[in-house]
């Protein structure tokens, strides 16, 4: 996808759109395919952002390396949360993920120094833009960020595509829809969910590093707030969880609503976009529980069939 936007504001909005499409695609691996409802993915964003930032500020490690380290750290944490909770009923998993993410945020807000690592508590960390360049993951313009997040999104969608067509994907779908039936077929439901959680938390964490390098300033409220976790889940649920197109469609529809309502009504009608989100979410859940991608996919299939028919008739 070539860059067609010139204005810096629109480019910023576009980057955020892609970032949320990426986050939601990563969430979808566990929230969509595994049929559970994680509501604490901001924890992984935070782990990613803090790991790469601390490593680069204090030890001069390239954020690219920090990104991968943060990814593995998040994977470890994700598996640790999933291990006891995947055996419980759905609501418990949702509550445990919320509690974990909020607990982690509160801890980071209270810790100035974690052993040798400076976290700076609620004040957060600022990344001084001293060395620009690809190796330092820091650029004067927004364009490089756009291409990086686009590449990350393509990668995440690719991974989702591969997973959804692999044995893991089928096991996940079976375990999500009918856990008892899947178990009786010899699928270790808790284990496949753990694998999905591991991939998902790894990918989500990478977005944290991207966010830190894009804004050059992180603090617990900006990278680990409950709002991030909920917005990711909302986008996936409205777009259609468990499908590849759903998260992309959801981000495409919802992100502009939130950005433009913040730009135009931010001072007069605060919170308007969240009222809209909530309303749309309820309507979608009541009338189109598989998300907005379903009717669109049906429309697309019908159009393709008609087109194929027209071609046959000459």
């Amino acid at each position: 996808m070539p860059l067609f936007v010139r204005s810096a504001t629109y480019l910023h909005i576009l980057i955020l759109l892609l970032l949320y499409a990426y986050l939601t695609t990563s969430w979808n691996l566990v929230g969509g395919f595994a049929g559970v409802l994680p509501l604490g993915h901001a924890a992984f964003v935070g782990i990613g952002a803090y790991t790469s930032t601390v490593l680069s500020l204090q030890y001069g490690v390239s954020p690219w390396v920090g990104m991968i380290v943060g990814g593995f750290l998040s994977t470890l944490v994700g598996v640790l949360i999933g291990l006891p909770t995947f055996k419980m009923r759905g609501a418990y998993f949702a509550l445990a993920t919320i509690a974990f993410a909020e607990g982690l945020r509160v801890m980071v807000e209270n810790i100035d120094r974690l052993g040798p690592f400076l976290l700076n508590g609620p004040r957060g960390l600022q990344i001084p833009p001293l060395e620009l360049g690809f190796g330092r993951f820091m650029f004067a313009e927004k364009e490089p960020y756009y291409y990086i997040i686009l590449a990350m999104l393509v990668l995440a969608v690719g991974i989702t595509w591969v997973v959804s067509r692999s044995k893991l994907g089928y096991c996940l779908a079976a375990g999500g829809e009918e856990p008892e039936a899947a178990q009786s077929l010899g699928i270790n439901v808790a284990r496949v969910k753990l694998v999905a959680m591991a991939i998902s938390s790894f990918l989500t964490s990478l977005a944290g590093t991207f966010w830190a390098q894009f804004t050059l300033y992180i603090h617990p409220k900006s990278v680990m707030s409950l709002d991030i976790s909920f917005e990711i889940a909302f986008i996936a649920l409205i777009g259609g969880r468990g499908s590849i197109a759903g998260p992309l469609l959801g981000a495409l529809l919802l992100r502009p609503v939130s950005d433009f309502s913040r730009i135009h009504f931010g001072d007069t009608l605060p919170g308007l976009h969240l009222v809209i989100f909530g309303g749309v979410l309820i309507l979608v859940m009541l009338y189109q529980p598989r998300g907005l991608q379903e009717p669109l996919t049906r429309l697309y299939r019908r159009a393709m069939a008609r087109w194929a028919g027209m071609r046959e008739r000459g």
């Binding site: 509550l95 607990g103 209270n110 919170g271 989100f277 009541l286």
Partner: protein
């Protein structure tokens, strides 16, 4: 030492109000088997209702209950009948439809942000009310009067709810539905009506908590979020669906919050509460008084 005791007593009093807020949540869970994520927002609605009732009529803060209680019951009843019921009907064979969590989260976002749109972000409190900042001296200790009344309200409400469930015909129908929806409907009970009533009741209890809080607590659009997560923690701690567990869980949280700052930075107590919650989730998910079968 005397300060520690004073903090512990005030913690128990405040904690019982948390327990009162969580009582509605545990009641709804006990019957519908779903977690109402909008519960904190319902509490927020109750607090605004109490606030405006007191401000406009100039009556004693606790008299607001006359208006708030039926209002909140009707609100909860309608919310369940209009928004949540269709999901139960669509997913008839699912015992705990997770979709309800999602829909109630939508309700949470709508209510909180509507409150922000309508009332603005400012913190409101009733300036001239007879209970504000009132203390009684017991020896060298100071005990907050509105919190003491809140404690009484929590005990009375819990007792009334328990009596309703155990002693009335309707209460028996509610318990039957909570045990087995299909078997109850075979006995001629309309489970959806029971769900409406249970939801209305839970919301009304949140209204009682709102009335108890308004004389000494600030009202603002996101006040619900503060209580939402606290309520989740309390009900898991006490055991989902248990009335006594909700009160006890609330008191535990209240004591940690008020005694903790004697030993550490106040903000750390919040981290301890989350840690306790996760510990319970992992080691004893049925909570203090929960039924093992449910989890």
């Amino acid at each position: 030492m005397i300060y520690l005791l004073e903090d512990a007593i005030n913690g128990i009093l405040m904690g019982s109000i948390y327990g009162l807020a969580a009582l509605g949540l545990t009641l709804i869970f006990g019957v519908l088997k779903v977690i109402n994520f909008a519960h904190g927002s319902l509490l927020m609605v109750g607090m605004y209702a109490a606030y405006w009732a007191v401000l406009l009529t100039g009556a004693h803060p606790y008299l607001a209950l006359v208006i708030v209680l039926p209002l909140m019951f009707a609100f909860g009843y309608l919310l369940q009948a209009v928004v949540i019921q269709p999901i139960f009907k669509a997913e008839r064979e699912v015992r705990e439809p997770i979709t309800v969590i999602i829909v109630t989260t939508g309700v949470w976002y709508i209510l909180d942000n509507l409150a922000l749109l309508v009332f603005g972000p400012q913190y409101r409190n009733i300036q001239d009310n007879p209970l504000r900042g009132k203390m009684i001296e017991a020896g060298e200790m100071l005990i907050s009067v509105p919190k003491l009344w809140g404690f009484c309200a929590a005990l009375v409400t819990a007792a009334l709810v328990w009596l309703f469930l155990q002693k009335t015909r309707m209460g028996r129908a509610v318990r039957a539905t909570s045990l087995d929806r299909d078997a109850a409907s075979l006995q001629g009970i309309n489970p959806y009506r029971i769900y409406n009533i249970a939801f209305g009741l839970g919301t009304a209890v949140a209204g009682v908590a709102g009335v108890a809080l308004v004389p000494f607590y600030n009202v603002f659009p996101t006040v619900g979020v503060l209580f939402d997560i606290k309520c989740f923690i309390i009900v898991v701690l006490g055991g989902l669906g248990s009335i006594g567990g909700a009160l006890l869980g609330g008191m535990i949280i209240g004591v940690i919050e008020s005694v903790g700052p004697q030993f550490m930075t106040a903000t750390w107590t919040e981290a301890i509460v989350y840690g306790l919650f996760l510990g319970f989730l992992f080691l004893r998910p049925s909570g203090l008084f929960g039924v093992k079968y449910d989890w």
